[in-house]
């Protein structure tokens, strides 16, 4: 067959491709199978120092299949949707399943838990952005950063991205769900110079489903400039033990560490510092964490999880007590529990905001370290030991005194969660974990 003929035919839908792959698996003798098929396209434009730097056109597609032969499984994926490649992928998955061990916990999600109605979560707002408009927005964004402060003398540029994608999940036991979603972003990273040869860089960004929800480009630029300039003149501080305030965008990582420690694989491998911790008090009793997967237009929304299980509002921590783990069907069966619709991750996991804004939290802290950036990977999921590089500000009397750099902050996550003093109302909604800033009672700051 001439390969070029297929390109001029109307391309088969993702649903058709998924059905085709499931059918191929069945004909290979698979007792069950699941398919993820996705297609997306996007544009990314970066303007640096007022001139276009890169224009990238993205167009991605992929199909992955997992097959089950009774209790054995295998998986494969391909970016090529033509008939032969598709059938090769299915065959590869089946070949692997011949060599893997039988695992009684393997299999698709329990049909009783599958999403029946798929609500419209208002996630799909494609942006017919022309290259000229994209260049204009990015140019205005970066120009506002340069105009905001004379110490902004260099830039990594302003980038505008837009992406429109469709994802299909289909199973041999009859589930078929399609989610169309868009993602748009505007970011700006600029460099400041203190006049003595020391430079600092910081950035600001927005991430939204609907382009109409993007803040003004100039606003992003000004905030990037402000974040950079305030770091100029940073210095090390002496080693000490003090309260630490995590700005919302870095506080999010503390929630991610929690999720990682209470996720299925960490638990059944007993490689988590939080094994056997359900129904124990991890946080002070005012702390409340919940998932809200059906929030309209939110970045972490999903009508069903990675295996078709219905998502819904679920508490994770109430009265400071951990109420459940984050599980998919496999981990749940292994642990003798029920899936929590977390195949593929959490959905708008939210830390209930407190009463104070950032300025209020700084006042509550009085004297301590305000952290705005973290670097490195110093988290031990098995013990909870925590040690990361940080940058931020030294605070006295509730006011920022000077910027700080080249320090580490260390503790144990268990102690950090227990020592949570307050959560701000400055909630960062740009990700699937949403939280305000976190004030922690005490950490060790290592410096000069």
């Amino acid at each position: 067959m001439d390969a070029t003929i297929t390109t001029h035919k109307r391309a088969p839908s993702l649903e058709d491709l998924a059905a085709q792959a499931l059918d191929l698996a069945r004909r290979q003798g698979a007792s069950a199978a699941e398919v993820n098929a996705g297609f997306g396209n996007g544009l990314s434009v970066t303007v640096r120092k007022g001139d276009v730097e890169t224009v990238e056109h993205h167009r991605d597609k992929s199909l992955s299949i997992t097959v089950f032969f009774g209790e054995r499984s295998g998986s494969a994926s391909t970016a090529d949707f033509r008939g032969q490649a598709l059938s090769e992928a299915v065959m590869a998955a089946c070949a692997i399943a011949r060599h893997t061990a039988a695992d009684p916990f393997n299999g698709l999600a329990d049909p009783a838990h599958l999403a029946r109605d798929i609500p419209d979560l208002d996630l799909h707002h494609p942006w017919p952005l022309s290259m000229e408009e994209a260049i204009d927005l990015a140019t205005r964004c970066e120009a506002a950063a340069f105009a905001a402060d004379p110490r902004i003398r260099n830039s990594e540029g302003a980038t505008i991205t837009t992406h429109d994608g469709t994802d299909v999940y289909a199973t041999s036991h009859g589930f078929l769900g399609t989610v169309r979603a868009s993602r748009h972003g505007l970011s700006c990273a600029v460099l400041g110079d203190d006049g003595h040869g020391a430079m600092q860089r910081d950035y600001e960004y927005a991430a939204v489903r609907d382009p109409r929800d993007l803040p003004a480009a100039e606003e992003i630029g000004r905030r990037a400039a402000h974040r950079t300039v305030r770091r100029l003149g940073a210095r090390q501080i002496k080693t000490c033990q003090v309260p630490v305030l995590y700005e919302a965008q870095v506080a999010r990582s503390l929630v991610s560490h929690l999720v990682s420690a209470i996720s299925g694989p960490s638990l059944y491998r007993r490689s988590s510092f939080l094994v056997d911790s359900v129904d124990t008090a991890l946080f002070p009793e005012w702390v409340h964490l919940y998932e809200e997967p059906h929030r309209k237009k939110a970045m972490g929304s999903a009508p069903f999880d990675g295996e078709g299980v219905e998502t819904r509002y679920r508490d994770l921590v109430t009265d400071g007590i951990l109420r459940r783990y984050c599980l998919d069907s496999y981990a749940a069966r292994k642990l003798g529990l029920v899936t929590t619709a977390n195949a593929g991750g959490v959905h708008n996991l939210t830390v209930a905001p407190g009463a104070e804004d950032l300025a209020g939290l700084l006042r509550t802290m009085g004297r301590g370290l305000f952290v705005t950036e973290l670097i490195g990977f110093g988290i031990n999921n098995v013990t909870g030991d925590y040690s990361r590089g940080a940058a931020g500000f030294w605070v006295e009397g509730g006011e920022i005194v000077h910027p700080v750099e080249e320090i580490t902050i260390a503790s144990n996550l268990r102690d950090m969660y227990k020592g949570l003093v307050a959560v701000g109302r400055d909630v960062d909604t740009r990700h699937n974990v949403c939280t305000g800033s976190w004030l922690l009672e005490r950490m060790t700051v290592a410096g000069g």
């Binding site: 056109h57 695992d103 490195g376 031990n380 030991d385 040690s387 590089g389 060790t444």
Partner: protein, 487 residues
């Protein structure tokens, strides 16, 4: 470093597997290039890629999952001055190529289509590894058996081993680069990796240890010299050390870094800051400092893509430039940058064979290959003996750097206190932070025990991952900040 005719065989093989099935020949290439050149485009390239990869993973004594992935596509890049236009297609076909070229050239306005006939020539390449196919180098049953043996070995060593996770991964990618200057280059790149993580438990306390290795070879590598089993033993050893570890100290102190993988220090503190893109744009703390003394006289650091079989090595980079050994720091003086073609041209320098990309769907950038410091004179025991009170760190997890401020971190996963010149009790993992532009000026002693890592490094930059290597001899650095909890 040899250039033999294996390169022309790779070029032929790449042409056969990437271009011939799509009916793309010299005329079609010219047609695509013609779409771009003439539109005020200085340079353009096409990057064809076909890759197959697999992974097998074991837990609880059994291999329960495996995955195969096949990917192919072509990336089309057009450069005008400092502007880059980029588009790609996962279908290697002429109409898709022409669409991508049309999209990529849109960064430059005006101009007209050109009829071009490139004088195509073989750009040459090294022969650092064979065009092996790891996926077929062992039967699937033997791959499963290998992981099972690794698991059994870990459990055999110590009853405190409660969990063993092991994974085996292999890939082969065939790439073909066609540049607007007529150069064509190809490579067939095998890569394998085996990793072991163990969880040990004693009196309710749990710890983990992890080890692994690999390179540009096939799975046979793990069967020789009991390599796979040695990773299991090493993971168990580390985990048991950590079971005994006390809290790490906090503050600035003398730090002795062991040989091999601790070379991640150089990758973070020095390597990234010397990448051409950051220096051209003036965003690196090292910008404009060529010729400056930035390290002790005893320090010479290179980035070397030509080490046979190494994970970070390449016969030819992703822009068709053969790799080389580039001196970054020579006896303490900053001598060179890590360059791709675009940044080298804009800075009036030569490309160094460091133009790399994760795949056809990503733009090339200056990236490291194998970055290491040459050996010094001092036996490592003398270095330890010279420290009254400090930290001896021998294994590390990941690291990260802020290019602009120069601050970098890397996290120790196995470390000991040094007291009165002797290695003392183990301490828990801690992150170490320093300042790239001056950390090597604090190098007080350089060991005679240069070692390279075992082949597990992956470097991330702008969302793109590429395999890399690091290495160094034992080093004593006076004044690094150690992020423990004990004041």
């Amino acid at each position: 470093m040899t250039t033999d005719n294996s390169h022309s065989r790779n070029l032929e093989r790449a042409r056969e597997s990437l271009l011939v099935p799509a009916g793309i020949g010299a005329g079609e290439i010219d047609q695509v290039m013609g779409r771009m050149l003439g539109h005020h485009i200085d340079y353009a390239d096409l990057y064809f890629q076909y890759s197959r990869q697999e992974s097998w993973s074991l837990e609880e004594g059994q291999v329960k999952s495996g995955n195969r992935h096949i990917e192919q596509g072509v990336g089309v890049r057009a450069i005008a001055g400092e502007k880059t236009g980029f588009a790609y297609s996962d279908e290697i076909m002429l109409p898709a190529l022409i669409d991508a070229a049309t999209a990529a050239r849109a960064i430059a306005r005006g101009g007209r289509e050109q009829t071009v006939a490139l004088a195509k020539r073989d750009g040459g390449a090294l022969s650092l590894y064979q065009p092996l196919d790891p996926l077929h180098s062992l039967e699937d049953t033997a791959k499963v058996a290998l992981l099972e043996r690794v698991e059994q070995e870990a459990r055999r060593i110590d009853p405190r081993v409660k969990q063993v996770m092991a994974s085996l991964g292999g890939s082969q990618e065939t790439i073909l680069v066609v540049r607007s200057d007529g150069v064509m280059a190809a490579d067939v790149r095998p890569l394998v990796r085996l990793n072991v993580t163990v969880i040990v438990e004693q009196d309710g306390r749990r710890e983990h240890g992890t080890a692994g290795g690999g390179g540009r070879t096939d799975y046979g590598y793990f069967l020789t010299e009991e390599r796979a089993l040695s990773y299991a033993r090493e993971a168990v050893r580390q985990a048991l050390v950590n079971l005994e570890a006390a809290s790490a100290p906090a503050g600035t102190m003398q730090v002795v870094l062991g040989p091999g993988w601790p070379g991640i220090l150089l990758h973070e503190a020095i390597g990234h800051g010397l990448e051409g893109d950051f220096n051209r744009k003036g965003t690196s703390a090292f910008a404009g400092r060529l010729g400056d003394k930035i390290a002790a006289d005893t320090c010479t650091v290179v980035d070397d893509g030509t080490l046979p079989g190494r994970r970070g090595s390449l016969n030819v980079d992703d822009e068709g430039t053969p790799t080389q050994s580039t001196i970054l720091i020579e006896r303490g003086v900053l001598r060179g940058y890590i360059q791709d073609r675009m940044n080298a041209r804009l800075m009036g320098m030569s490309p160094t064979g460091n133009g790399r990309r994760e795949s056809y769907a990503h733009l090339p950038m200056p990236r490291m290959t194998n970055t290491y410091m040459l050996a010094g004179q001092t036996p490592p025991e003398e270095i330890i003996a010279s420290v009254k009170k400090g930290l001896y760190a021998v294994n590390f997890g990941g690291g990260q750097v802020d290019i602009t401020s120069g601050k970098f971190v890397f996290s120790a996963s196995e470390a000991y206190l040094i007291e009165q010149g002797r290695i003392g009790r183990p301490v828990r993992g801690a992150t170490i932070i320093g300042n790239g532009p001056d950390v090597l000026t604090r190098v007080a002693m350089v060991g005679n025990d240069l070692a390279l890592d075992t082949g597990v490094g992956t470097c991330g930059k702008d969302g793109q991952s590429v395999p890399v290597g690091v290495g160094q001899p034992t080093l004593r650095i006076d004044g690094l900040t150690v992020g423990g909890t004990e004041e």
